[in-house]
Symmetry: D2
Amino acid sequence: MDLELAGKVLAEQPFSRLLGARVTAFGNGEATLELDIREELRQQYGFVHGGVLSYAADNTLTLAAATVAGPGLITSGFTIDYLRPATGAVLRAHAQVVRAGRTRVVTRCDVLTIDDAGAQSLCAVAQGNIAVLDGPGAKR
Amino acid sequence: MDLELAGKVLAEQPFSRLLGARVTAFGNGEATLELDIREELRQQYGFVHGGVLSYAADNTLTLAAATVAGPGLITSGFTIDYLRPATGAVLRAHAQVVRAGRTRVVTRCDVLTIDDAGAQSLCAVAQGNIAVLDGPGAKR
Amino acid sequence: MDLELAGKVLAEQPFSRLLGARVTAFGNGEATLELDIREELRQQYGFVHGGVLSYAADNTLTLAAATVAGPGLITSGFTIDYLRPATGAVLRAHAQVVRAGRTRVVTRCDVLTIDDAGAQSLCAVAQGNIAVLDGPGAKR
Amino acid sequence: MDLELAGKVLAEQPFSRLLGARVTAFGNGEATLELDIREELRQQYGFVHGGVLSYAADNTLTLAAATVAGPGLITSGFTIDYLRPATGAVLRAHAQVVRAGRTRVVTRCDVLTIDDAGAQSLCAVAQGNIAVLDGPGAKR
């Protein structure tokens, strides 16, 4: 997989299109996903909803795994800790592989916001488990 | 808080409106959230996107905490494990309080799908930490 | 595996012997591990050390998985939330299978203490991932 | 707190003495804990027991938080993912603060082994939540 193919996979996910996510970096054990922060993605206090941050973490943890293990992956699960209210212009999630085993990849992710002036704020951190499927008929 | 107020809070979240979530039970340490599964919520294989399941877990873990600790809460974080591909007509998340402390509530959540015939399938389980804010100006 | 074999496996773990752990129930997707609380297992405030609770959770999460998936297992990881200071006479961890897949078992665990009068107190909850090894030479 | 005081706190924990843990670095948002790998700390296959790794993660996640938030802390919980069988001469856990809030510190930890030749192997990664107690009588 390369950046172009990763972008195509994301574009095939209706939910990622609904949220407006895009892959902006992909390779060598690392991946970055971004989306523009807009009204629809907020919670009642005007901050980006935690569900958007967890979506970004989930997808980016698995994208990073795909840079080393290919597309036959399924997210087993992850942990996310929220750090600060998320507000700004762009939400960016960056993940990297910690360990790529034969059947499982462990990855970590930082989720941050970027405001109009380019200032970054770390909003959440996550750690995930990605299962490597061993064939086209493999099931989680 | 009661079911009616919980529904109003959810309706004030633009992201929950975008996903079509509704609170269907609220009280005594337990809360249930549901949403109709539709094309926009899927990933590339036709299953409900993990980000939708994690959104449902996040929100329901905190709703359950609100039944005992009121509305001044903020989700600290959570762990989710995906169990099965999620497909069907309705996604339902049900959470309950495990322990309500003075400053922190720990909750657990089951996320399941229900098909047109009413058959249920458990798709994900989550465990979360909810922080109790100690005043109107409190920050995470 | 049955209760007797599970006890033998535990007895083959030098660290479990050091802590004095014993399996007291094993079967049908559930397992219970107990240990007597003694001075050596405490932290500086006199409560059972979190590391003892996490040991108990780790082992019991995997024991529960072994009731359905046999002995060829390895703990992938887990999440633990501490709820209350742990004190009393006996520490008991009880875990049950949430979902047993072909390659992965997800389990949940409650860790509680029991005092001399038999009163129980829930001290920690955990959720874990157990990998099913597919052969004698399989590695995590 | 400084390295000397951190060492004294650890020495006041009977369980840390039982395991033979020592603090080898402490300051500026980072902490390192080490222990010599010996027979008593192993599981049935000869590797260091997961419970020892989770003990090391638990303690080091909180030690790192103490470098910025002082001694009035309590571990709320953590997630650990095991990466490789742990074997060698020394187990080393290194943690650093990700975000120090007023009431909660989030930290990450790497657990590795070092063999007699000095070669390192990353065995587990963890992410934790540490609660900041707001006074001597504060309870979790």
